[in-house]
Each structure stands twice: as structure tokens, then as C-alpha cells.
Amino acid sequence: MAAAVTTEKQQPTLVIRPPSGFAGLGVGDLWRFRELLLFLTWRDIKIRYKQTVLGAAWALLQPFLTMIVFTVVINHIGKVHTPIPYPLFALSTLALWYYFSNSVNLTSASLVGSAALITKVYFPRISVVLSPILAGLVDFCLAFLLVAGAMVYYGFAPPVHALLVPLFVVLAGLMALGLGLVLSALNVKYRDIRYAVPFVLQLWLWATPVAYPGSAVPAKFKLLYTLNPMTGVVEGYRWALLGTGHIRVLHLAISIGTALVLLLGGALYFSRAERAFADVI
């Protein structure tokens, strides 16, 4: 929506006009509504495990149980071996992967889930897309406690560059945001997205070196492995946290590049689609 705030005689005047061209993402509005973003995030955290018996334990169970399955299937049956104990290896990347995939899942459904709000109140629409990504950080931190526990159990001391871990988490969050902007806006128009996203994320998990080290990828799949924008994120994160594997500039460049393209393209598409949300949703 084209809406500009100008100051005329010290009186803010809002001009409402038909939309034309790139209207921007309303970063100014996002700042003005920053408290709303915090409230939405806080709501997402608060209600996520409401009326569940296990509560926040779900944030731990998801990666933990998956790690057990992976240990049996990949490590014992598939005979994939890792330089450090496999459970710790899998658990640490699963924590990051779940942050990423839950974020993509929740953001892509976020606009449609907030239809009641969107048709009744004005606020920067991007806040509902951002809030699950911010709220997901809490789950990530919980899961990370589990990873820390595993480190203690296996007597593993993380390298100094583990301090870089937050950078990779932010990169995963930005990637999810870029995807979320596109998918959430598409989902307003085409509800197919709701069915496609969980399925694609499941396939993507297997295409990404989460359950196995990058070195185990056979030569004929190397191209796919390299082009996968999550490879750089996951490998980089693992290198930072566990010191295994290699951080490759190419992988990292592809990850950062893709995240930037997604963010820019997503913002552009979102701002165009945003105008019609209330009419189409």
C-alpha cells in the first residue's frame, strides 16, 4: 500500500493512495510497531506448548528422538561413521535444522493463520512473518542445551571458534525469512503451499548434510550437494561447533548469496502482494 507520512505544519499527514511500484517493506512502520512484533513473538512462544502435557519438552524431544532414529539407521545400519560420537554429531545439526525447518513451516502458514487480524487491523504484515522466526530461537536455545548436555556426556570440548555458531544460526534464520516472505505471500493466493512445504522440507533434510558428513557424499551427487544453499549453513555451523568437516568458501558463498537473493526477492514480492492480502485472504 502506498502510504507516506509527511510532516505538514508539525502535523503528521498520512496519505492513502492506490499502490504503484515498489512501496518498500514499511521498515519505518515496522519500527513504529516494534512492540507489536515483540508481543506477537511473545505470544508465539507462550502458546506454542499450551495445553500440552510435556510442554516445552517438545522442543527437546523432536531433535532427541530424531537423533536416536538417525543413530540406528544411519550410524548402525548405514554404517556412516563420523570422527566424533555420532549422537553428538547428529544432535547438534538437528537442533539447527529444526530451527530452520520449523521457521519455514510456520512462516509460510503465518499470513493465512493471521487472516482474522489482517482483514481487521492495519499493522506491518511482515511482523507476523518475522515473529515465528524470532520465537523459534527460544526452541533452538532449548535444543542447544541438549547439545551441551551431550558434549558433557561425551567429554567433548568445543573449539574456540564455536563462538561463531550464532552467525550460522542467524544465516539459517535469514534463509528461512527469505523463503517465508515468498511462501507466506504465495500461500495467501495458492493454498497448495501448505501441502508442499512440509513435504519439500522433509526431502531437503535428506539432501542436506544433517545426518551424515559432507565427506560421505558420493562424487556423482557433489554438484547437488554444492548447490544446496543449506550445505554451507549446516557444514559451517558444524565446523564452528564441533570442528569437524571443512568450511568451504564456495558453499558459504552460495548460502549467503541465496539468502540475500531470497530476502531481496522475497521483500519485493511480499511488498507487491501485501496490498491485496486483505482482499484475497
Partner: protein
């Protein structure tokens, strides 16, 4: 432009494209609808403007444009000052969260700052009368409590310009009175208010100036009293003839399988005092129903019924003409059923016609739809009682409120036997 104007709209239009979206890119079968067309008006700072019109006249679309929920297709609006819009109460309420949490969340959604909500929190909770349940999830609230809390948050919003859609049609009567009072306060505080309502009494009491929208265009703009009168008058001559055709090809006719059809209704109309057919009546106006029917074969024991229903299909009352014992021979007939007392409160009602002779002969479930308009006879103290409280008006008298000298505990101790 003068700085005394809070809202200035010029050439506002909103085009909706109907039909299935996201299907064929070839634009066939697409119907276009201008929900709003060339709407221009100005609202002075501190003024309260009402917006009236039929459903689908574009009232809500206008509010949605002014509150930036949807963008206009043409024109522009300039708005001076902060806008708070209230298109619904309880927007963003989350059932799992406590009343307290929802006050904060809802306040933030409506554009309030955290410390503003914090400062008004106790006042909001007291206004809503939910102190004891403030830490209970709102899904456990009764609908009344829920609405009260939601409205209380909204009522404490303090923008420069307040945009309100039909939100007063909720809650119980006493709470509504409180809300109307609060709204009145708001408009007296120099705040600019744009208020949409179907409740003409509320529009009259809260606004001094009104806009009447008809099919997306401004039909009248002026003093509330004049605009409302003009609008109400238009709803009355809307259907020119007021006589509803009930013959075979009429759209009112639905296939009735289980009727003998020896008797068939052919037309029906409601008459005013001057015997003119009308479809809208002031509250309390006597109703006279003129029905015509054909008798095709001789019928004995003919019975005619007139039933008045709500638009939701709830039967409100039925009038029975009594059995006609003699044989009615083929021909065209007419009968008038009169209701000298019209207890219907403002709203739309449906007339059902039934003819039977032992077995059903003809049934027309919605032969006629008519409206009862508010504001004509509405008693002062009924203004705050909404349709949600009941749609039949019964005359009543109240004693004043007197002090009850007998202590309540004495009553409680007195043993009472109920039943055998």
C-alpha cells in the same frame, strides 16, 4: 488544505474483481464490482461522522481504506493524526492466553504502547468487570465476559481519529449502555470519530453529521438527523410495488412436494394505514397482510395460517384464521390478516403462508420479507437493548429502585419447599 481537517478524501474508489482467483490467466467470466466510487468528503478535527447505508453499500470498505487495511483503487485520502480502527472487538484475542495477556496483545494490535496499556490496565479490567478471572485463559470466559474485556481494551484506545464499525451490536444491554457512554465521552474529548452502524438511534445520539452510502456512492452528506430520515425513507420505497408475486414462476416459489395444491397463494403484500403496500414499517406500526389465492377444486375445512419468522427461521408467532367449514368453490379469493399490535423490534422478518385442509394444500415458507425500522417509536430506554437481547418488544413498567429492608441472609435461612 486546512489544518482543521482530520480526514480529507477525494475520488476514493475500490474495485473488486469477482470470480475465481488464481485460475485461468485469461480474463473471461470476470465480474467487476465498484464497492466504492468517487467518494469525497472531509471530516473536521473533533467532529463525529456517522456512515449509514444498506449492507453492501460500501461502508466497511470505506473504513478499511481509511484504516489502511486495504488500498483504494482510485483517489486518495489524507489523514491527519494517529488512527485507531475498531472493525471488530477482540481482534487477535487468543483463546489460550489469559485475560491479562490478551489485554496486552490486543492493545498492541490496536496500536497502543506497552506502558500506555500498563497505565490503563486496572481501568480496563474494572470496566470489563472481569477482575476475578483476569488470569484465566479467555477460552474459559463466557461470551459476555469475552466481549466485555475485548470492548474494554478498545474503549481505552486514545487515537486522534477513531474509526468504528458496528461494534456496539455486542454484549448485554447494560454493557452496551456503558459503551455508548464511553463512545460519547470519546467524541466529547475532541477526538475525531467515524462511526458505521445500522443502529440509527446510536448514529443519531453519537454523531452530528452523517454520510449515506448507496451502492458505493455518496447519496447524502449532511446533518445526521436529515440524512438518517432520508435514508430511512428510501428503505421504505425501495420495492416500488411492495406486492409479492407468488404465482408459478415467482422466485418466492419453491417446489413443495407434499402439498395437494388445490389452493394456491398468488400474491401477498403488507399494507400501511392507507392501504398502500409497504415492505418497511416503523416500530410498533400495525401490520395488515393482504393475501390472494386461487382455489382450483372445491375444498372443505380450509385453514389459513400466517406465520412470522426471524430471518434465521425462528418462528416468532402464528396466526390462524380458524377452520372454514363450508365448501370453498373454485375462484379467486382474498383475505386480510391484521396485527393491531406489532411487537417486532427493528430488523428483518419473514412471512410464511400456509393453507391446509386436513392435509397441506400450499406452503410458501418465505412469501415476504419486510423490515421494521428503528427510531420511529423506539422508547428511550430501549435504545440500548439490541437484537441480541430479543426481537420481541413487550410493554413493561418498572418500580423505581428501592432499598430492600429485609436482609438477604434472612431470606436465605427461610426454608422453602418446592414441589411435593
Amino acid at each position: 488544505m486546512s489544518s482543521d481537517l482530520a480526514i480529507e478524501a477525494r475520488g476514493l474508489g475500490k474495485l473488486y474483481v469477482l470470480g475465481e482467483r488464481g485460475r485461468s490467466p485469461i480474463r473471461r467470466n470476470r465480474e467487476e464490482l465498484w464497492a466504492l466510487r468517487d467518494v469525497a468528503f472531509e471530516v473536521e478535527r473533533g467532529a463525529a461522522m456517522g456512515v449509514v447505508g444498506h449492507n453492501g453499500a460500501g461502508k466497511t470498505t470505506l473504513l478499511k481504506i481509511l484504516s489502511r487495511i486495504t488500498a483504494p483503487t482510485t483517489g486518495e485520502a489524507r489523514i491527519r493524526g494517529s488512527v485507531g480502527s475498531l472493525l471488530e472487538v477482540g481482534t487477535g484475542f487468543h483463546p489460550e492466553l489469559s485475560g491479562r495477556d490478551n489485554v496486552y496483545l490486543n492493545g498492541a494490535i490496536l496500536g497502543m504502547r506497552r506502558r500506555e496499556i500498563k497505565a490503563k490496565f486496572d481501568e480496563i479490567v474494572a470496566f470489563a468487570e472481569v477482575e476475578r478471572f483476569i488470569d484465566t485463559p479467555v477460552k474459559r470466559y463466557s461470551s459476555g465476559m469475552y466481549v466485555r474485556l475485548a470492548f474494554a481494551v478498545a474503549a481505552h484506545l486514545e487515537p486522534d481519529i477513531l474509526i468504528v464499525d458496528e461494534v456496539l451490536a455486542v454484549g448485554d444491554a447494560s454493557f452496551q449502555r456503558k459503551c455508548l457512554g464511553k463512545m460519547g465521552e470519546v467524541s466529547n474529548e475532541g477526538r475525531t470519530v467515524v462511526f458505521v452502524s445500522h443502529n440509527m438511534a446510536a448514529v443519531r445520539s453519537l454523531t452530528s453529521r452523517a454520510l449515506w452510502l448507496d451502492h458505493g456512492r455518496i447519496a447524502a452528506d449532511g446533518a445526521t438527523g436529515d440524512v438518517v430520515t432520508e435514508y430511512l425513507a428510501s428503505t421504505i420505497d425501495e420495492e416500488v410495488s411492495g406486492v409479492v408475486d407468488l404465482t408459478e414462476n415467482s422466485s418466492r416459489r419453491t417446489v413443495s412436494k407434499f402439498t395437494a395444491q388445490r389452493v394456491r397463494f398468488t400474491s401477498v403484500s403488507l399494507l400501511d394505514a392507507d392501504d398502500r403496500p409497504m415492505l418497511a414499517f416503523g416500530e410498533g406500526t400495525p401490520l395488515r397482510l393482504d393475501m390472494r389465492f386461487d382455489v382450483r377444486e372445491p375444498v372443505r375445512f380450509l385453514e389459513l395460517y400466517v406465520r412470522v419468522k426471524s430471518t434465521e427461521g425462528q418462528r416468532l408467532f402464528t396466526s390462524f384464521a380458524g377452520q372454514i367449514e363450508s365448501t370453498v368453490y373454485p375462484g379467486r379469493y382474498r383475505s386480510i390478516c391484521e396485527f393491531p399490535e406489532n411487537p417486532l423490534r427493528p430488523g428483518r422478518y419473514v412471512v410464511e403462508l400456509v393453507a391446509r385442509a386436513a392435509d397441506p394444500e400450499d406452503i410458501v415458507p418465505s412469501a415476504l420479507v419486510f423490515a421494521v425500522e428503528a427510531g420511529h417509536l423506539e422508547e428511550e430506554n430501549m435504545r440500548y437493548v439490541t437484537r441480541a437481547d430479543g426481537i420481541i418488544r413487550v410493554r413493561s413498567t418498572w418500580s423505581g429502585v428501592e432499598r430492600d429492608e429485609q436482609p438477604a441472609s434472612a431470606l436465605a435461612r427461610e426454608p422453602r419447599l418446592v414441589g411435593p
